[in-house]
């Protein structure tokens, strides 16, 4: 087993009386896609915010490339190669698609000309080639999701955290998007993705973690996780596994 690129070790995060993440641990192996699933309110996005530096954990460690990066600010993590997308897309609404991607591209390309060229390249790769001059707020939901991905990708990350990039897309748009994500992985980018679209995340991920009520309740290959009694009960309620005839 390769040294994980990212490891989250017993991380907890408390908001007043609410323990949003409770001693969760997970790893992301380099060069493959790791899925993070769980019912609504399980703490997935909070965990992402902790990994990307937007939220400080109450307890626990985040290790990236072997170094402890807990509590580093987001821009420092981005510089080290951690990029994230937001579940609720965060475009620079008043700017064009190209200018949006440009902000990300500037991280590795200080010169405007180089950064523009890099931004155009990323935009075309993600199928935004025809829309580069359009204002970002005129894009469709699918376009915005692609833009969200393009901005993150323009920072040339090693670790990409995708927070529900498929949410809100229709089945044909999902079919278009899945190969895009797989292609990123083929380029050697390690991906950790939160996803509710099970079919997609099952087919993409090599390894999956299931978060429920702030704790990791199961992990393993997608097929193992899908038939895990605890996972089924977390999603469908107590006793559901027995009714479905899952034995474990």
């Amino acid at each position: 087993m390769a040294e994980p690129l990212l490891s989250v070790e017993r991380v907890s995060c408390r908001f007043g009386g609410l323990l949003a993440v409770n001693g969760a641990s997970l790893n992301a192996e380099p060069g493959c896609i790791t899925g993070l699933i769980g019912p609504n309110g399980a703490g997935k996005t909070t965990l992402f915010s902790i990994i990307s530096g937007f939220q400080k954990p109450t307890d626990g460690l985040v290790r990236y490339r072997g170094e402890i990066v807990t509590g580093l600010p987001p821009h420092e993590l981005a510089r080290r190669g951690v990029a994230r997308t937001f579940q609720i897309v965060q475009p620079f609404a008043g700017l064009s698609v190209r200018e949006n991607i440009l902000v990300g591209a500037h991280l590795r390309h200080p010169k405007r000309g180089d950064a523009l060229a890099a931004a155009d390249k990323v935009g075309r790769e993600l199928g935004l080639g025809d829309m580069l001059d359009r204002p970002a707020d005129t894009l469709t939901v699918a376009g915005r999701k692609r833009l969200e991905l393009a901005k993150a990708l323009a920072t040339e990350p090693q670790l990409l955290l995708l927070d529900e990039v498929l949410a809100g897309l229709n089945p044909s748009e999902i079919r278009d998007m899945v190969p895009v994500i797989r292609a990123l992985c083929d380029r050697g980018i390690t991906i950790l993705m939160i996803e509710h679209v099970m079919q997609a995340v099952m087919s993409l991920s090599r390894h999956m973690f299931v978060l429920a009520e702030g704790s990791i309740i199961a992990q393993g290959a997608p097929s193992e996780v899908a038939s895990d009694r605890r996972v089924i009960e977390a999603y469908l309620g107590h006793g559901a596994a027995r009714k479905l005839g899952v034995v474990s």
Binding site: P73, P74, F92, V103, G104, R112, A115
Partner: protein
């Protein structure tokens, strides 16, 4: 490079004005307009490009003005280095206020109120401390020599402030085409998204604040040299803060020419109002208020935004014909 050509053209046209216009009143009006445009350009760097709306740019204007005056009057320092020191100290005040507010994470109206408070604190301090001349103010000795940065003719003053405005236009142009500018605009549009893409938002805002303060301070330094008098009300009063934010908002926030255009319109309207209604006190403020309401209501991106919208509107039918035909 299109906008660089426009800057050169605009400055060349403005530079030719004193060759045609001899009237001292007109030149005086233009000097004050350019002074306001410079203060407004300073505000525009932080407010227009960075989206951080300051209500207290008088803090920088006044610091520049007082520094230039005090160094000359109390310390016998030559006006030229005093002018430079005014800009530097204005920038330093910007750095301090920026560090305090941005580190504390103040945004939006909280930032606006705190900057207003800083300017007011400085105004009160300046009205009581002996070094500023307290309530009496500070008078700079009339001495019309270039060596002490006082010019015989109004035209020379005009060209001097025009040169400062030209530099401020070039700074805005350079910001638009740099990584710093892209980051600054990203902060304005969506601070969290900018952070996620590796932008150190605190540092970017702080940098913008320092540049912004330096430019507005330069207009204060010029004020001292032109009027040879400064007191706490002029230096740190709310009027300057308002003019500094009004001109770019009316002209077009986050554009190179917005502050210059806004200053021409605002000052021009103020002048027209004076001619129509005589010197009724506070009239110019009423005019500013009306213009502001109209601009925010009908042209939220300022006059330059209005021009762009019109251009797009008129260019559309031709495209449609091309498609149909």
């Amino acid at each position: 490079m299109k906008s660089l050509g426009t800057i050169i053209l605009v400055i060349a046209v403005l530079a030719a004005v004193p060759l045609v216009v001899q009237s001292n009143t007109t030149l005086n009006f233009l000097v004050v307009t350019l002074l306001v445009a410079l203060a407004g350009q300073g505000w525009n760097v932080l407010g227009g490009y960075g989206g951080q709306y300051s209500f207290g740019h008088a803090a920088f204007f006044g610091t520049g003005a007082y520094t230039t005056a005090i160094l000359q009057v109390r310390y016998g320092i030559n006006a030229w280095p005093a002018f430079a020191a005014g800009i530097a100290l204005g920038a330093a005040v910007g750095g301090v206020i920026g560090a305090l507010t941005f580190r504390a994470g103040l945004r939006g109206s909280y930032f606006a109120l705190v900057t207003l408070a800083f300017a007011e604190v400085l105004r009160i301090l300046a009205s009581v401390t002996p070094i500023t001349g307290a309530g009496v103010g500070t008078l700079v000795k009339l001495d019309l020599r270039v060596e002490v940065l006082q010019f015989q003719s109004r035209a020379a003053f005009y060209w001097f402030i025009l040169a400062l405005v030209a530099v401020s236009l070039l700074i805005a142009h350079a910001i638009e085409r740099s990584r710093f500018g892209a980051y600054l605009i990203a902060v304005r549009e969506n601070e969290d998204a900018a952070k996620a893409l590796g932008v150190n938002t605190t540092r970017v805002k702080l940098g913008a604040m320092v540049i912004s303060a330096a430019i507005t301070a330069a207009s204060g330094c010029f004020y001292t040299q032109y009027f040879l008098f400064i007191d706490s009300g002029i230096a740190y009063g709310a009027r300057m803060s308002i003019e500094a934010l009004l001109t770019p908002i009316i002209g077009g926030v986050g554009t190179v020419f917005g502050p210059l255009l806004g200053a021409l319109v605002v000052q021009g309207l103020g002048e027209v109002a004076k001619h129509v209604a005589g010197d009724a006190p506070g009239l110019s403020l009423i005019v500013y208020g009306c213009v502001l309401v109209l601009v925010i209501g009908f042209a939220p991106r300022g006059l330059i935004g209005l021009v762009e919208t019109a251009r797009r509107y008129f260019s559309r039918p031709s495209k449609r014909e091309a498609v149909n035909g």
